[in-house]
Symmetry: C2
Subunit: 292 residues, 2 copies
Protein backbone atom coordinates (compact mmCIF):
# COMPACT_ATOMS: atom_id res chain seq x y z
CA UNK A 1 0.00 0.00 0.00
CA UNK A 2 1.75 3.16 -1.11
CA UNK A 3 -0.89 5.73 -2.09
CA UNK A 4 -4.44 6.84 -1.38
CA UNK A 5 -6.52 9.21 -3.47
CA UNK A 6 -8.53 11.78 -1.51
CA UNK A 7 -11.47 13.68 -2.93
CA UNK A 8 -11.90 17.02 -1.19
CA UNK A 9 -15.62 17.65 -0.67
CA UNK A 10 -15.62 20.84 1.43
CA UNK A 11 -16.85 23.14 -1.40
CA UNK A 12 -19.94 21.00 -2.09
CA UNK A 13 -20.83 18.46 0.61
CA UNK A 14 -19.21 20.61 3.28
CA UNK A 15 -20.76 23.97 2.41
CA UNK A 16 -24.14 22.40 1.68
CA UNK A 17 -24.39 21.61 5.39
CA UNK A 18 -23.28 25.04 6.62
CA UNK A 19 -24.87 28.49 6.61
CA UNK A 20 -24.72 30.00 3.08
CA UNK A 21 -21.57 32.01 2.29
CA UNK A 22 -20.92 34.42 -0.60
CA UNK A 23 -19.82 33.18 -4.03
CA UNK A 24 -16.51 35.07 -3.58
CA UNK A 25 -15.67 32.90 -0.58
CA UNK A 26 -16.63 29.70 -2.38
CA UNK A 27 -14.32 30.61 -5.27
CA UNK A 28 -11.50 31.40 -2.83
CA UNK A 29 -12.05 28.06 -1.10
CA UNK A 30 -11.96 26.03 -4.34
CA UNK A 31 -8.92 27.96 -5.60
CA UNK A 32 -7.03 27.49 -2.33
CA UNK A 33 -7.80 23.76 -2.29
CA UNK A 34 -6.61 23.53 -5.91
CA UNK A 35 -3.20 24.65 -4.69
CA UNK A 36 -2.79 22.05 -1.89
CA UNK A 37 -1.80 19.13 -4.10
CA UNK A 38 -5.20 17.44 -3.76
CA UNK A 39 -6.08 15.88 -7.11
CA UNK A 40 -9.88 15.67 -6.86
CA UNK A 41 -12.39 18.26 -5.70
CA UNK A 42 -16.17 17.96 -5.47
CA UNK A 43 -16.79 21.55 -6.51
CA UNK A 44 -20.53 22.23 -6.64
CA UNK A 45 -23.93 20.63 -7.00
CA UNK A 46 -26.58 21.56 -9.54
CA UNK A 47 -29.73 21.37 -7.49
CA UNK A 48 -32.88 23.43 -7.21
CA UNK A 49 -32.02 26.68 -5.37
CA UNK A 50 -35.11 26.37 -3.19
CA UNK A 51 -34.06 22.90 -2.04
CA UNK A 52 -30.41 23.81 -1.38
CA UNK A 53 -29.93 27.60 -1.23
CA UNK A 54 -26.24 27.06 -0.38
CA UNK A 55 -25.64 25.94 -3.98
CA UNK A 56 -27.87 28.49 -5.77
CA UNK A 57 -24.81 30.17 -7.30
CA UNK A 58 -23.17 26.95 -8.58
CA UNK A 59 -22.85 28.19 -12.17
CA UNK A 60 -21.25 31.48 -11.12
CA UNK A 61 -18.88 29.79 -8.65
CA UNK A 62 -17.73 27.23 -11.17
CA UNK A 63 -17.26 29.81 -13.94
CA UNK A 64 -15.08 31.98 -11.71
CA UNK A 65 -13.09 29.21 -9.98
CA UNK A 66 -9.62 28.23 -11.18
CA UNK A 67 -9.74 25.01 -13.15
CA UNK A 68 -6.33 23.57 -12.27
CA UNK A 69 -5.48 21.16 -15.11
CA UNK A 70 -3.91 18.79 -12.55
CA UNK A 71 -7.16 18.50 -10.56
CA UNK A 72 -10.27 16.48 -11.44
CA UNK A 73 -13.39 18.45 -10.47
CA UNK A 74 -16.76 16.79 -10.00
CA UNK A 75 -20.34 17.94 -9.51
CA UNK A 76 -23.26 16.33 -7.73
CA UNK A 77 -26.63 16.29 -9.46
CA UNK A 78 -30.06 15.06 -8.32
CA UNK A 79 -31.75 14.46 -11.69
CA UNK A 80 -31.64 14.91 -15.49
CA UNK A 81 -32.01 18.68 -15.27
CA UNK A 82 -29.03 18.84 -12.92
CA UNK A 83 -27.00 16.56 -15.16
CA UNK A 84 -27.69 18.79 -18.15
CA UNK A 85 -26.54 21.85 -16.23
CA UNK A 86 -23.39 20.08 -15.00
CA UNK A 87 -22.49 18.86 -18.48
CA UNK A 88 -23.19 22.29 -19.99
CA UNK A 89 -20.90 23.79 -17.36
CA UNK A 90 -18.14 21.50 -18.58
CA UNK A 91 -18.03 18.83 -15.83
CA UNK A 92 -16.86 15.42 -16.95
CA UNK A 93 -17.27 13.71 -13.56
CA UNK A 94 -20.84 13.57 -12.33
CA UNK A 95 -22.16 12.11 -9.06
CA UNK A 96 -25.68 11.07 -8.18
CA UNK A 97 -27.06 9.85 -4.84
CA UNK A 98 -29.48 7.07 -4.01
CA UNK A 99 -30.18 5.76 -0.50
CA UNK A 100 -29.93 2.09 0.43
CA UNK A 101 -32.71 2.84 2.91
CA UNK A 102 -36.08 3.16 1.24
CA UNK A 103 -37.37 5.42 4.02
CA UNK A 104 -34.37 7.73 3.72
CA UNK A 105 -34.66 7.81 -0.06
CA UNK A 106 -38.34 8.73 0.12
CA UNK A 107 -37.62 11.53 2.61
CA UNK A 108 -34.74 12.86 0.51
CA UNK A 109 -35.97 12.26 -3.03
CA UNK A 110 -39.68 11.58 -2.63
CA UNK A 111 -39.50 8.19 -4.33
CA UNK A 112 -38.50 4.63 -3.54
CA UNK A 113 -34.95 3.33 -3.88
CA UNK A 114 -36.03 1.24 -6.88
CA UNK A 115 -37.57 4.27 -8.59
CA UNK A 116 -34.33 6.19 -8.06
CA UNK A 117 -32.34 3.30 -9.52
CA UNK A 118 -34.58 3.46 -12.59
CA UNK A 119 -33.94 7.22 -12.87
CA UNK A 120 -30.20 6.59 -12.66
CA UNK A 121 -30.36 3.93 -15.35
CA UNK A 122 -32.01 6.49 -17.64
CA UNK A 123 -29.40 9.11 -16.76
CA UNK A 124 -26.33 7.05 -17.60
CA UNK A 125 -26.60 7.23 -21.44
CA UNK A 126 -27.08 11.01 -21.25
CA UNK A 127 -23.89 11.38 -19.22
CA UNK A 128 -21.91 8.98 -21.36
CA UNK A 129 -23.01 10.65 -24.62
CA UNK A 130 -21.45 13.87 -23.32
CA UNK A 131 -18.16 12.03 -22.71
CA UNK A 132 -18.57 12.16 -18.92
CA UNK A 133 -18.61 9.51 -16.21
CA UNK A 134 -21.24 8.83 -13.57
CA UNK A 135 -20.50 7.83 -9.98
CA UNK A 136 -23.41 6.43 -7.99
CA UNK A 137 -23.17 7.27 -4.28
CA UNK A 138 -25.17 4.82 -2.17
CA UNK A 139 -26.24 6.80 0.88
CA UNK A 140 -27.01 5.21 4.28
CA UNK A 141 -24.85 2.23 3.28
CA UNK A 142 -23.74 1.73 6.89
CA UNK A 143 -27.06 2.40 8.55
CA UNK A 144 -30.15 4.60 8.33
CA UNK A 145 -31.34 6.98 11.05
CA UNK A 146 -34.92 5.83 10.40
CA UNK A 147 -34.54 2.13 9.61
CA UNK A 148 -31.39 1.25 11.55
CA UNK A 149 -28.99 -1.35 10.18
CA UNK A 150 -28.95 -1.87 6.42
CA UNK A 151 -28.41 -5.41 5.14
CA UNK A 152 -25.06 -5.52 3.29
CA UNK A 153 -26.74 -7.81 0.74
CA UNK A 154 -29.09 -4.96 -0.19
CA UNK A 155 -26.16 -2.61 -0.83
CA UNK A 156 -24.41 -5.36 -2.82
CA UNK A 157 -27.46 -5.86 -5.03
CA UNK A 158 -27.67 -2.10 -5.66
CA UNK A 159 -24.02 -2.09 -6.72
CA UNK A 160 -24.70 -5.00 -9.06
CA UNK A 161 -27.70 -3.21 -10.56
CA UNK A 162 -26.00 0.16 -11.22
CA UNK A 163 -22.88 -1.50 -12.60
CA UNK A 164 -24.96 -3.57 -15.00
CA UNK A 165 -26.80 -0.36 -15.97
CA UNK A 166 -23.44 1.13 -16.96
CA UNK A 167 -22.46 3.27 -13.95
CA UNK A 168 -18.73 4.00 -14.05
CA UNK A 169 -18.12 4.08 -10.31
CA UNK A 170 -19.80 3.46 -6.97
CA UNK A 171 -19.26 5.10 -3.59
CA UNK A 172 -20.69 4.18 -0.18
CA UNK A 173 -21.91 7.10 1.92
CA UNK A 174 -21.92 7.06 5.72
CA UNK A 175 -24.69 9.62 5.60
CA UNK A 176 -25.37 10.12 9.31
CA UNK A 177 -22.18 8.69 10.80
CA UNK A 178 -23.40 5.18 11.56
CA UNK A 179 -20.32 3.44 10.15
CA UNK A 180 -18.05 1.70 12.64
CA UNK A 181 -15.10 -0.66 12.08
CA UNK A 182 -17.47 -3.59 12.56
CA UNK A 183 -20.01 -2.30 10.00
CA UNK A 184 -17.20 -1.50 7.54
CA UNK A 185 -15.96 -5.09 7.83
CA UNK A 186 -19.49 -6.48 7.47
CA UNK A 187 -20.18 -4.51 4.29
CA UNK A 188 -16.78 -4.58 2.57
CA UNK A 189 -16.44 -8.31 3.06
CA UNK A 190 -19.50 -8.58 0.78
CA UNK A 191 -18.98 -5.77 -1.73
CA UNK A 192 -16.39 -3.05 -2.38
CA UNK A 193 -17.04 0.37 -3.89
CA UNK A 194 -14.44 2.47 -5.68
CA UNK A 195 -14.68 5.15 -2.99
CA UNK A 196 -15.78 5.53 0.64
CA UNK A 197 -17.34 8.57 2.24
CA UNK A 198 -17.12 8.31 6.03
CA UNK A 199 -18.29 10.70 8.69
CA UNK A 200 -16.73 11.27 12.11
CA UNK A 201 -20.04 11.79 13.89
CA UNK A 202 -19.30 9.20 16.56
CA UNK A 203 -15.49 9.41 16.62
CA UNK A 204 -14.81 6.39 14.41
CA UNK A 205 -13.94 8.25 11.18
CA UNK A 206 -10.25 7.35 11.00
CA UNK A 207 -10.79 3.89 12.55
CA UNK A 208 -13.23 3.23 9.69
CA UNK A 209 -10.61 4.32 7.14
CA UNK A 210 -8.02 2.05 8.76
CA UNK A 211 -10.43 -0.87 8.48
CA UNK A 212 -11.32 -0.07 4.86
CA UNK A 213 -7.63 0.05 3.89
CA UNK A 214 -7.36 -3.59 4.93
CA UNK A 215 -10.09 -4.39 2.40
CA UNK A 216 -8.18 -2.69 -0.39
CA UNK A 217 -10.21 0.53 -0.75
CA UNK A 218 -7.87 3.37 -1.80
CA UNK A 219 -10.21 6.33 -2.39
CA UNK A 220 -11.80 8.42 0.34
CA UNK A 221 -13.83 11.59 0.60
CA UNK A 222 -12.86 14.15 3.23
CA UNK A 223 -13.59 17.80 3.93
CA UNK A 224 -11.06 20.49 4.88
CA UNK A 225 -11.54 21.40 8.54
CA UNK A 226 -14.32 18.82 8.74
CA UNK A 227 -16.66 21.40 7.15
CA UNK A 228 -20.23 20.15 7.00
CA UNK A 229 -22.04 19.46 10.22
CA UNK A 230 -24.40 16.65 10.96
CA UNK A 231 -27.98 17.72 10.20
CA UNK A 232 -29.37 15.28 12.77
CA UNK A 233 -27.32 16.49 15.70
CA UNK A 234 -26.56 20.20 16.09
CA UNK A 235 -22.96 20.68 17.16
CA UNK A 236 -21.90 17.24 16.00
CA UNK A 237 -19.17 16.75 13.46
CA UNK A 238 -19.94 15.35 10.04
CA UNK A 239 -17.29 14.74 7.41
CA UNK A 240 -13.84 13.45 8.24
CA UNK A 241 -11.42 16.40 8.31
CA UNK A 242 -9.08 16.10 5.34
CA UNK A 243 -6.08 17.24 7.39
CA UNK A 244 -6.73 14.51 10.00
CA UNK A 245 -6.92 11.90 7.22
CA UNK A 246 -3.76 13.16 5.47
CA UNK A 247 -1.97 13.35 8.83
CA UNK A 248 -2.71 9.71 9.68
CA UNK A 249 -2.04 8.35 6.18
CA UNK A 250 1.24 10.18 5.56
CA UNK A 251 2.45 9.08 9.00
CA UNK A 252 1.67 5.50 7.93
CA UNK A 253 3.86 6.03 4.87
CA UNK A 254 0.86 6.22 2.53
CA UNK A 255 1.24 9.07 0.03
CA UNK A 256 -1.68 11.43 -0.58
CA UNK A 257 0.14 14.05 -2.67
CA UNK A 258 -1.30 16.74 -0.37
CA UNK A 259 0.78 19.43 1.33
CA UNK A 260 -0.50 19.14 4.91
CA UNK A 261 0.58 22.61 6.04
CA UNK A 262 -1.05 24.18 2.97
CA UNK A 263 -4.22 22.24 3.71
CA UNK A 264 -4.24 23.40 7.33
CA UNK A 265 -3.93 26.96 5.98
CA UNK A 266 -7.07 26.41 3.88
CA UNK A 267 -8.94 25.00 6.88
CA UNK A 268 -7.95 28.10 8.89
CA UNK A 269 -9.28 30.31 6.10
CA UNK A 270 -12.51 28.30 5.94
CA UNK A 271 -12.96 28.64 9.69
CA UNK A 272 -12.88 32.44 9.33
CA UNK A 273 -15.32 32.34 6.40
CA UNK A 274 -17.80 30.21 8.33
CA UNK A 275 -17.33 31.99 11.65
CA UNK A 276 -17.42 28.81 13.69
CA UNK A 277 -14.85 26.52 15.28
CA UNK A 278 -14.39 23.57 12.94
CA UNK A 279 -14.17 20.05 14.38
CA UNK A 280 -10.62 19.17 13.33
CA UNK A 281 -7.96 18.13 15.81
CA UNK A 282 -5.08 18.63 13.39
CA UNK A 283 -6.39 22.12 12.64
CA UNK A 284 -6.36 22.91 16.39
CA UNK A 285 -3.18 21.16 17.49
CA UNK A 286 -1.19 20.97 14.26
CA UNK A 287 0.52 17.81 13.04
CA UNK A 288 2.42 15.68 15.56
CA UNK A 289 5.66 16.80 13.93
CA UNK A 290 5.02 20.46 14.90
CA UNK A 291 7.06 20.68 18.12
CA UNK A 292 7.05 23.31 20.86
CA UNK B 1 -11.21 -11.23 21.80
CA UNK B 2 -14.30 -10.96 23.99
CA UNK B 3 -13.71 -8.27 26.62
CA UNK B 4 -11.82 -5.06 27.28
CA UNK B 5 -11.28 -3.41 30.65
CA UNK B 6 -11.73 0.37 30.67
CA UNK B 7 -10.38 2.59 33.42
CA UNK B 8 -12.45 5.75 33.73
CA UNK B 9 -10.11 8.70 34.35
CA UNK B 10 -12.48 11.69 34.20
CA UNK B 11 -12.41 12.38 37.97
CA UNK B 12 -8.60 12.67 38.07
CA UNK B 13 -6.87 13.06 34.69
CA UNK B 14 -9.95 14.71 33.21
CA UNK B 15 -10.68 17.24 35.94
CA UNK B 16 -7.00 18.01 36.43
CA UNK B 17 -7.05 19.58 32.95
CA UNK B 18 -10.24 21.58 33.45
CA UNK B 19 -11.16 24.62 35.53
CA UNK B 20 -11.53 23.66 39.22
CA UNK B 21 -15.01 22.52 40.27
CA UNK B 22 -16.44 22.11 43.81
CA UNK B 23 -15.83 18.94 45.85
CA UNK B 24 -19.59 18.28 45.78
CA UNK B 25 -19.50 17.98 41.99
CA UNK B 26 -16.44 15.71 42.08
CA UNK B 27 -18.17 13.37 44.52
CA UNK B 28 -21.30 13.36 42.31
CA UNK B 29 -19.16 12.55 39.27
CA UNK B 30 -17.36 9.64 40.95
CA UNK B 31 -20.60 8.29 42.40
CA UNK B 32 -22.40 8.50 39.05
CA UNK B 33 -19.53 6.75 37.28
CA UNK B 34 -19.57 4.04 39.95
CA UNK B 35 -23.11 3.22 38.84
CA UNK B 36 -22.36 2.81 35.08
CA UNK B 37 -20.88 -0.67 35.26
CA UNK B 38 -17.31 0.59 34.80
CA UNK B 39 -15.04 -1.51 36.98
CA UNK B 40 -12.05 0.82 37.42
CA UNK B 41 -11.96 4.53 38.24
CA UNK B 42 -8.93 6.79 38.64
CA UNK B 43 -10.48 8.81 41.44
CA UNK B 44 -8.01 11.46 42.62
CA UNK B 45 -4.36 12.43 42.79
CA UNK B 46 -2.41 13.33 45.90
CA UNK B 47 -0.28 16.21 44.67
CA UNK B 48 0.79 19.54 46.11
CA UNK B 49 -2.24 21.89 46.04
CA UNK B 50 -0.11 24.71 44.66
CA UNK B 51 0.98 22.55 41.72
CA UNK B 52 -2.49 21.18 40.93
CA UNK B 53 -5.22 23.26 42.61
CA UNK B 54 -7.88 21.08 40.92
CA UNK B 55 -6.92 18.20 43.26
CA UNK B 56 -6.45 20.20 46.47
CA UNK B 57 -9.52 18.55 48.02
CA UNK B 58 -8.55 14.96 47.15
CA UNK B 59 -8.84 13.70 50.74
CA UNK B 60 -12.28 15.23 51.21
CA UNK B 61 -13.54 13.99 47.82
CA UNK B 62 -12.33 10.47 48.41
CA UNK B 63 -13.75 10.32 51.96
CA UNK B 64 -17.17 11.42 50.75
CA UNK B 65 -17.33 9.39 47.53
CA UNK B 66 -19.16 6.06 47.35
CA UNK B 67 -16.69 3.18 47.41
CA UNK B 68 -18.57 0.66 45.27
CA UNK B 69 -17.17 -2.75 46.26
CA UNK B 70 -17.40 -3.86 42.61
CA UNK B 71 -15.13 -1.03 41.43
CA UNK B 72 -11.36 -0.77 41.76
CA UNK B 73 -10.38 2.83 42.54
CA UNK B 74 -6.86 4.16 41.95
CA UNK B 75 -4.95 7.31 42.84
CA UNK B 76 -2.08 9.05 41.09
CA UNK B 77 0.86 10.21 43.17
CA UNK B 78 4.00 12.17 42.24
CA UNK B 79 6.31 11.14 45.09
CA UNK B 80 6.71 9.43 48.48
CA UNK B 81 4.63 12.04 50.29
CA UNK B 82 1.80 11.49 47.81
CA UNK B 83 2.10 7.73 48.15
CA UNK B 84 1.83 7.99 51.94
CA UNK B 85 -1.30 10.11 51.63
CA UNK B 86 -2.86 7.71 49.09
CA UNK B 87 -2.10 4.67 51.24
CA UNK B 88 -3.39 6.39 54.38
CA UNK B 89 -6.60 7.20 52.47
CA UNK B 90 -7.04 3.51 51.79
CA UNK B 91 -6.02 3.23 48.12
CA UNK B 92 -4.58 -0.12 47.11
CA UNK B 93 -3.89 0.81 43.46
CA UNK B 94 -1.31 3.55 43.07
CA UNK B 95 -0.05 5.16 39.84
CA UNK B 96 3.11 7.14 39.26
CA UNK B 97 4.26 8.94 36.10
CA UNK B 98 7.68 9.19 34.47
CA UNK B 99 8.32 10.61 31.00
CA UNK B 100 10.22 8.72 28.31
CA UNK B 101 11.36 12.15 27.14
CA UNK B 102 14.08 13.57 29.37
CA UNK B 103 13.13 17.13 28.43
CA UNK B 104 9.46 16.53 29.26
CA UNK B 105 10.38 14.83 32.54
CA UNK B 106 12.59 17.75 33.57
CA UNK B 107 9.83 20.26 32.76
CA UNK B 108 7.22 18.23 34.64
CA UNK B 109 9.19 16.81 37.55
CA UNK B 110 12.37 18.90 37.60
CA UNK B 111 14.64 15.87 37.25
CA UNK B 112 15.96 13.50 34.60
CA UNK B 113 14.11 10.38 33.52
CA UNK B 114 16.80 8.26 35.20
CA UNK B 115 16.45 10.17 38.46
CA UNK B 116 12.69 9.61 38.37
CA UNK B 117 13.23 5.90 37.74
CA UNK B 118 15.46 5.81 40.84
CA UNK B 119 12.71 7.55 42.85
CA UNK B 120 10.20 4.98 41.63
CA UNK B 121 12.49 2.09 42.58
CA UNK B 122 12.60 3.50 46.11
CA UNK B 123 8.83 3.92 46.18
CA UNK B 124 7.93 0.35 45.25
CA UNK B 125 8.78 -1.32 48.62
CA UNK B 126 6.79 1.35 50.48
CA UNK B 127 3.72 0.64 48.33
CA UNK B 128 4.11 -3.11 48.54
CA UNK B 129 4.56 -3.07 52.32
CA UNK B 130 1.13 -1.45 52.55
CA UNK B 131 -0.37 -4.26 50.48
CA UNK B 132 -0.87 -2.03 47.45
CA UNK B 133 0.26 -2.23 43.83
CA UNK B 134 2.17 0.33 41.78
CA UNK B 135 1.51 1.08 38.11
CA UNK B 136 4.20 3.04 36.30
CA UNK B 137 2.78 5.28 33.57
CA UNK B 138 5.40 6.09 30.95
CA UNK B 139 4.40 9.50 29.59
CA UNK B 140 5.29 10.75 26.09
CA UNK B 141 5.68 7.11 25.00
CA UNK B 142 4.44 7.95 21.49
CA UNK B 143 6.24 11.25 21.07
CA UNK B 144 7.29 14.36 22.98
CA UNK B 145 6.17 17.90 22.14
CA UNK B 146 9.74 19.09 22.80
CA UNK B 147 11.90 16.23 21.51
CA UNK B 148 9.66 14.74 18.82
CA UNK B 149 9.70 11.01 18.19
CA UNK B 150 10.71 8.75 21.06
CA UNK B 151 12.75 5.64 20.25
CA UNK B 152 10.62 2.57 21.10
CA UNK B 153 13.82 0.94 22.41
CA UNK B 154 14.02 3.64 25.10
CA UNK B 155 10.47 2.91 26.25
CA UNK B 156 11.23 -0.82 26.18
CA UNK B 157 14.30 -0.37 28.39
CA UNK B 158 12.26 1.70 30.86
CA UNK B 159 9.68 -1.08 31.05
CA UNK B 160 12.45 -3.59 31.66
CA UNK B 161 13.92 -1.41 34.41
CA UNK B 162 10.68 -0.77 36.33
CA UNK B 163 9.60 -4.40 36.05
CA UNK B 164 12.91 -5.57 37.44
CA UNK B 165 12.54 -3.00 40.22
CA UNK B 166 9.24 -4.67 41.15
CA UNK B 167 6.60 -2.48 39.52
CA UNK B 168 3.33 -4.38 39.25
CA UNK B 169 2.07 -2.83 36.03
CA UNK B 170 3.08 -0.46 33.24
CA UNK B 171 0.99 1.91 31.13
CA UNK B 172 1.98 3.97 28.07
CA UNK B 173 0.71 7.54 28.04
CA UNK B 174 0.01 9.44 24.82
CA UNK B 175 0.56 12.63 26.76
CA UNK B 176 0.04 15.24 24.03
CA UNK B 177 -1.80 13.18 21.45
CA UNK B 178 1.14 12.18 19.25
CA UNK B 179 0.14 8.52 18.96
CA UNK B 180 -1.01 7.33 15.55
CA UNK B 181 -1.70 3.81 14.26
CA UNK B 182 1.84 3.76 12.81
CA UNK B 183 3.47 4.79 16.13
CA UNK B 184 1.32 2.30 18.05
CA UNK B 185 2.53 -0.48 15.74
CA UNK B 186 6.15 0.69 16.03
CA UNK B 187 6.07 0.68 19.83
CA UNK B 188 3.85 -2.32 20.58
CA UNK B 189 5.81 -4.54 18.21
CA UNK B 190 8.75 -3.96 20.58
CA UNK B 191 7.12 -3.85 24.00
CA UNK B 192 3.60 -4.16 25.42
CA UNK B 193 2.28 -2.46 28.55
CA UNK B 194 -0.65 -3.71 30.60
CA UNK B 195 -2.65 -0.58 29.76
CA UNK B 196 -2.75 2.16 27.13
CA UNK B 197 -3.76 5.76 27.65
CA UNK B 198 -4.50 7.39 24.28
CA UNK B 199 -5.61 10.90 23.47
CA UNK B 200 -7.81 12.00 20.59
CA UNK B 201 -5.98 15.28 20.01
CA UNK B 202 -5.46 14.61 16.30
CA UNK B 203 -8.50 12.41 15.61
CA UNK B 204 -6.72 9.06 15.81
CA UNK B 205 -7.90 8.00 19.29
CA UNK B 206 -10.13 5.10 18.28
CA UNK B 207 -7.88 4.14 15.33
CA UNK B 208 -5.06 3.79 17.87
CA UNK B 209 -7.22 1.53 20.05
CA UNK B 210 -8.11 -0.61 17.04
CA UNK B 211 -4.41 -1.02 16.26
CA UNK B 212 -3.54 -1.82 19.87
CA UNK B 213 -6.23 -4.52 20.04
CA UNK B 214 -4.39 -6.35 17.26
CA UNK B 215 -1.32 -6.42 19.51
CA UNK B 216 -3.27 -7.99 22.35
CA UNK B 217 -3.64 -4.99 24.67
CA UNK B 218 -6.98 -5.25 26.54
CA UNK B 219 -6.90 -2.34 29.00
CA UNK B 220 -7.52 1.29 28.07
CA UNK B 221 -7.98 4.59 29.84
CA UNK B 222 -10.81 6.87 28.75
CA UNK B 223 -12.64 9.87 30.16
CA UNK B 224 -16.42 10.40 30.23
CA UNK B 225 -17.31 13.10 27.70
CA UNK B 226 -13.64 13.37 26.77
CA UNK B 227 -13.15 15.56 29.87
CA UNK B 228 -9.62 16.94 30.09
CA UNK B 229 -8.43 19.27 27.36
CA UNK B 230 -5.02 19.38 25.82
CA UNK B 231 -2.80 21.83 27.71
CA UNK B 232 -0.70 22.49 24.60
CA UNK B 233 -3.57 23.45 22.33
CA UNK B 234 -6.50 25.42 23.74
CA UNK B 235 -9.76 24.09 22.36
CA UNK B 236 -8.25 20.77 21.35
CA UNK B 237 -9.56 17.53 22.71
CA UNK B 238 -7.48 15.41 25.03
CA UNK B 239 -8.61 12.08 26.40
CA UNK B 240 -10.61 9.58 24.38
CA UNK B 241 -14.28 9.91 25.34
CA UNK B 242 -15.32 6.77 27.23
CA UNK B 243 -18.69 6.64 25.50
CA UNK B 244 -17.03 6.73 22.05
CA UNK B 245 -14.74 3.87 23.11
CA UNK B 246 -17.57 1.79 24.60
CA UNK B 247 -19.73 2.51 21.53
CA UNK B 248 -17.06 1.19 19.12
CA UNK B 249 -16.07 -1.80 21.24
CA UNK B 250 -19.58 -3.05 22.04
CA UNK B 251 -20.50 -2.71 18.35
CA UNK B 252 -17.47 -4.92 17.60
CA UNK B 253 -18.87 -7.49 20.01
CA UNK B 254 -16.24 -6.73 22.66
CA UNK B 255 -17.81 -6.51 26.11
CA UNK B 256 -16.92 -3.60 28.40
CA UNK B 257 -19.51 -4.19 31.13
CA UNK B 258 -20.52 -0.54 30.84
CA UNK B 259 -24.11 0.67 30.36
CA UNK B 260 -23.65 3.10 27.45
CA UNK B 261 -26.83 5.10 28.05
CA UNK B 262 -25.96 5.49 31.74
CA UNK B 263 -22.48 6.65 30.77
CA UNK B 264 -23.89 9.21 28.32
CA UNK B 265 -26.05 10.47 31.18
CA UNK B 266 -22.92 11.00 33.29
CA UNK B 267 -21.21 12.84 30.42
CA UNK B 268 -24.27 15.11 30.11
CA UNK B 269 -24.08 15.83 33.84
CA UNK B 270 -20.34 16.56 33.58
CA UNK B 271 -20.94 18.93 30.68
CA UNK B 272 -23.28 20.97 32.89
CA UNK B 273 -20.78 20.93 35.78
CA UNK B 274 -17.95 22.16 33.57
CA UNK B 275 -20.06 24.62 31.58
CA UNK B 276 -18.42 23.80 28.29
CA UNK B 277 -19.29 21.64 25.28
CA UNK B 278 -17.37 18.41 25.67
CA UNK B 279 -15.63 16.86 22.63
CA UNK B 280 -17.58 13.61 22.38
CA UNK B 281 -19.45 12.61 19.25
CA UNK B 282 -21.48 9.91 20.96
CA UNK B 283 -22.50 12.44 23.63
CA UNK B 284 -23.74 14.81 20.88
CA UNK B 285 -25.30 12.34 18.43
CA UNK B 286 -26.09 9.36 20.66
CA UNK B 287 -25.19 5.79 19.76
CA UNK B 288 -25.81 4.61 16.19
CA UNK B 289 -28.67 2.47 17.50
CA UNK B 290 -30.61 5.55 18.65
CA UNK B 291 -32.94 6.07 15.68
CA UNK B 292 -35.07 9.05 14.70
Amino acid sequence: MDAVSIREVAPRDGLQNEKPIPADDKVRLIDALSRTGVRRIEAVSFVHPKAIPQMADADEVWTRAWHNPDVRYSALIPNTRGAQRALAAGFREIEVVVSASDTHNRRNLNRSTDESLDDIAALIPLVHEAGATLEVIIATSFGCPFEGDIDPARVASMVERVRSDGADRTAFGDTTGMATPRRVKDLLSQVRPELLHFHNTRGTGLANVLTALEFGVREFDASAGGIGGCPYAPGASGNIATEELVHMLEDLGIATGIDLEALIGVAEMAEKMLGRTLPSGVLRAGPRTRLV
